[in-house]
């Protein structure tokens, strides 16, 4: 089966995020008030052929650990959606 997968890579808590801080400072100037805790990450989407959803998740988790995220500073969250739907 073909699964579409979303891997969200985000900085671990406590790791400084200069991009997030810059966005947070810019938003009030555009009239968006009350925004806090802005963090910038990466979203990696792909399709993968696997026997079942659990296998697709395992495969994507392994990709995240080995390549997509740097575990020293980043966490990765894997979401698997069957079929052609977008997660």
């Amino acid at each position: 089966m073909r699964f579409s997968v979303l891997v969200e890579v985000r900085l671990r808590p406590g790791i400084a995020d200069p991009q997030g801080a810059t966005i947070e400072r810019a938003l009030p100037a555009l009239g968006f008030s009350g925004v806090e805790k802005v963090r910038v990450g990466k979203a990696v989407r792909f399709e993968v052929v696997a026997a079942d959803e659990a296998a697709a998740r395992d495969e994507a988790t392994s990709m995240a650990e080995r390549l997509l995220a740097n575990p020293v500073i980043e966490d990765a969250e894997v979401t698997v959606i069957s079929g052609n739907g977008r997660p």
Binding site: I15, A16, T22, L67, V72
Partner: protein, 231 residues
Amino acid sequence: MSTRVGVVVFPGSNCEHDVAHAVEQLGGEAELVFHDQDRLGRLDAVVLPGGFAHGDYLRPGALARFSPVMAAVTRFAAEGGPVVGICNGFQVLTEAGLLPGALQKNAGLRFLCTTVQVAVCSTKSVLTGGAQPQAVLELPVNHFEGNYTCDPATLEMLRAQDRIVLRYVENPNGSVDDIAGVSNEAGNVVGLMPHPERACDALTGGTDGAVLLRSRLSSAASAAGALIRTG
């Protein structure tokens, strides 16, 4: 017999000739080693130079660490061979797990191209063995992702084991504890963001980098001597 230094070339490296030139000026012999080689041959030291290996796509060093040559560099390092990563080379060494921590985007979100002062904080590494403790060197920096980051436990370990080899006098990029360079526990693997190879000739703006590269050459020579003696 002069010291043979392998300079690793990834697709996108751009400081390999600067390093080779500096090594030869200091009396060593430089050999370019390509990323797809899985053996190093007879080398006394290895340098991972600056640049943008594999375009720095995904993260700096993230793809380079899977190059065949990195398996050979890892074996060389495990046998005690001197390995120095400069700038992008430092990023590759952290991604490969040969050095702790990671290099994030600069705190100011600007690419830095300037000359900075760095203080020699440990002389136990192959790169700083010939430098005076606390000496202040003027070296060029040229990076967007040089903001050294590690967790508090790792920082404590680096301090306790005297592995912070260089610190910025004025922190240009937000690095934790002003760190400009670190070593592994044995001191034979060192990574630093400044470019000593670009400060080896008065003609191009200074010679403060020479003391570092000369340290590496002499430590490589003594490591080679030790191998010959024991082998």
